[in-house]
Amino acid sequence: MATQEQTALNPAHHASRFDAKWLIIGAAVIVVGWLALVPLVFLIWQSFMTPLAPDMPALFTLANYRNVYTSAETFRLLTNSVIFAGGAAVLSLGLGTSLAWMNERTNTPFKSLFYALSIVPLIIPGILFVAAWIMLASPKIGVLNLLLQRALGTDYVFFDVYTLPGMMWVDGIQHAPIAFLLMSAAFRSMDPSLEESALMSGASLMQVARRVTLRLATPALAASFLILFVRSIESFENPALLGLPAGIQVFTSSIYEALHAYPSDVGLASTYAMTLLVITSGGIYWQSRLSRNSGRYATVSGKAFRPRIMDIGRWRYATGAFFLTYAALVIGLPFLVLVWSSLQRFYAVPSLAALKTVSLANYQAIFDYPSIGTAVWNSIVLALATATAVMALTAVIGWLVLRTRVPGRWLLDNVASLPMVMPGLVVGLAIMISYLALGGGIYGTIWILLIAYLTRFLPYGMRFNTTSLLQLHKELEESAQLSGANWFTTFRRIVLPLLKPGLMAGWLYIVIVSVRELSSSVLLYSPDSIVVSVVLWELWQNGQYVQLSAMGVMLIAVLFVFVLVAQGFGRRFGVREV
């Protein structure tokens, strides 16, 4: 028996068993810490420093902050940003909540389309959505304007996207699917008996919706509003394409302008970025507080209830029409206008005459585009590498946070989720500063893009992995260990296979958002490390709208097929429900 005790006490034996496990975990912690913290530290550092130049070292200065906060320009930026993001968030929340209520609680027709509604906007890159809406509703070339003018015989401008309301409109309908998903989840986790007892008390359907359903959903509404607000204030394509030509500046477009002015002003950009970070951090912090406190509303229990469908009678034609209109605005019209313009040599309003000039020349032009091969290859490599690395990394981190009692694990959770508050443009800027200062020769290579993508999408991986880990009963792992399996075997044979559905879903999501990614890439790319989204950006900058449309149509088609295949694959080979 003494030998048994010695085995347990033998430090070497102990150490070897420990090292192997902690090596992987330690490596994951270091990588995550590096990714999340280094850019932030350098961003803060830069905002207090004069720009680094070959002939001059960076010096401490408060001038950046002094210049920014004493300027009336900054106040205008702040007002514009808040009005834009607030208006867009109100619009998307209103739309998304109505749609979610119709889908979850009423017998509105065309329900099978709701799913498409939630997935399709994901695969339309932001720059294409905004470009499509310019083709639809710009005062000069907008199809909707021109058609109405022709029909009514006036030259009145009906729609103008180059205005603050226009920006809100485009951003609002673009983000409504997110509101739809968030509010659907909230409605689904609400105990239907609360509404049923209101009905039995004699309340009408509308009274129930207004006085019970919406009241119960208030915490979810507030939390969703904050998420949407942060999303909008972070958005780059919309303010860049719609705001800059009209002189309506917000923080993101100003950061971009400051960097692309000659000489570029990194200090100014960093200070703007810091201000933006404070706003987004506040929003996310407040949102997480709200979500945590929603525990006192016993309705939101995390438990899924069987949805209760109310018969709304003839009103369902109205809700059906509302839904179809929305689907047309967010999917139908933008995609059709892209297809139309992709077939035209020069941009023209749809007409019978223009139908004769239809050609596939633009598609040919895209294949002949000089950097297209490099861009496609880079995008594929980056998307696959990012998705795989993020999901693997966050599986380990998520396990560490949820399954161990390592002190400081909550901190690790927060560090891995930190990039959530960083707009893409700020991530790009911070990484640019970091690796210019650190050297190492990765600036201007594809590696810096990989680092940016990893940083940006780390929080998504955390969310997918922690959600599926939380659903995994701890006893499944404990019984493996009691069966004699060590940590490796347990992780490889029990944890990973059971996480597979979540890992696949997260992987798929990150592949798509990586291909779409523009706001970090646009600051970090070089001719060798160009990616697909940046090619779209270049085409827009060059005014090659018809080629942009052709490339957009192909990209959307490819992403759509990818989603279908991946989902079919997941259904066939995915793990059975636990």
Partner: protein, 366 residues
């Protein structure tokens, strides 16, 4: 065989305070015996089991199996749980949904290594045979019924021939009928294999039916250890008497020793009684008597012979099919009596009561 001494565990509550879950737990289990930790939820029984398994690290104490120390706080020994060689069945069964029945049961042998696939196959199939799962070996584990999952979990726990089998409320997720059948199954399997078993439950009927020995726990401590019959018939204190079965409690004052050893004459509010006590009593002190409802004999005619006699009035009655419960008022107190259903005394009528002195137990501890 299994020896647990001075085991104390602590956990951090939501408010950041350290809470003692199990306090100073000590017991011994002989080889091949079925030992049950019984108590209400939160009494520390699961924590004790998880400490033995190695899933939790106790604050202090020592656990040894067959003389091998698997945990000792003072000597800083803690054998990793995957080296302890204990089988465990969890409350949720923890059947891995991505493996079929055979793969689930073969896992412990595979990860240990040292066995050829054919040997593993033979061993697993033998165990599945015992559990009546042999024909289902290739079935997806998610397609099993509750009872089959439970047997698979048991198969997986015993396939590696563990030194100790740990069962954490394995029957609590089954419906009532199946639970009763599995009780017999479990008992048969344990007796056939002769594997030393530690069982955790809050169900007194399970504990009484299965165990060689029961430890009743309350608020982190063991309050009584003994064979099922002793626990039921001679509860040491009010908690045990109430938690296991139900009891009538009578306050009384000790008068003197009766002529038979172990029996004492006491004075209650409705007259003098003869009661049984395991320890000597001091005349003049107050004691509590416990009487099981089924030991309260009721009759419409006067009893003959020896015993404790009273008269009372039927207050209310409940017909339960195989028995009838009567609430009887005796001098302002209400006592519960469980009788044969043939007794049909109407409510409000008088009734004669007899209690065998043997069944009139003085609670001696706490």
């Amino acid at each position: 065989m299994l020896s647990v001494t001075a085991l104390t565990t602590e956990y951090r509550s939501g408010r950041g305070q350290n809470v003692r879950a199990a306090r100073d737990i000590a017991f011994e289990v002989e080889k091949g015996k079925f030992f049950t930790l019984l108590g209400p939820s939160g009494c520390g029984k699961t924590t004790t089991l998880r400490s033995i398994a190695g899933l939790e690290r106790p604050l202090s104490g020592e656990i040894s199996v067959n003389g091998r120390v698997v945990f000792s706080a003072s000597r800083n020994i803690s054998v990793a749980l995957n080296k302890r060689n204990f089988g465990m069945v969890f409350q949720s069964y923890a059947i891995w949904p991505h493996m079929n029945v055979f793969e689930n049961a073969a896992f412990p042998l595979e990860v240990r290594g040292g066995l050829a696939p054919t040997a593993i196959r033979a061993k697993v199939m033998a165990v599945l045979e015992v559990m009546g799962l042999a024909e289902l070996a290739e079935r997806e584990s998610t397609k099993l019924s509750g009872g089959q999952q439970q047997r698979l979990a048991l198969a997986r726990a015993i396939v590696m021939e563990p030194e100790l089998l740990l069962l954490d409320e394995p029957l609590s997720n089954l419906d009532a009928k199946l639970r009763e059948r599995m009780r017999f199954e479990l008992k048969r399997i344990q007796r056939e294999l002769g594997v030393t078993t530690i069982y955790v439950t809050h169900d007194q009927a399970e504990a009484l039916a299965l165990s060689h020995e029961i430890a009743v726990m309350n608020e982190g401590r063991i309050v009584q250890i003994g064979p099922p019959r002793a626990i039921y018939e001679r509860p040491r204190n009010r908690f045990v008497a109430e938690f296991i079965g139900s009891s009538n409690f009578l306050e009384a004052e000790v008068l003197a020793a009766d002529n038979r050893p172990g029996f004492w004459r006491v004075r209650g509010r409705f007259g003098d009684l003869v009661a049984h006590s395991e320890t000597a009593l001091e005349p003049g002190t107050g004691v509590t008597l416990s009487v099981r409802p089924e030991n309260m004999e009721l009759s419409e005619t006067r009893f003959e012979g020896a015993g404790n006699f009273f008269t009372g009035t039927v207050d209310s009655k409940v017909f339960q099919g195989d028995f009838a419960d009567f609430q009887v008022r005796v001098d302002g107190a209400t006592l519960l009596a469980r009788t044969h259903p043939s007794l049909r005394t109407p409510v409000g009528e008088g009734v004669y009561i007899r209690i065998d002195p043997e069944k009139c137990v003085v609670l001696t501890g706490g």
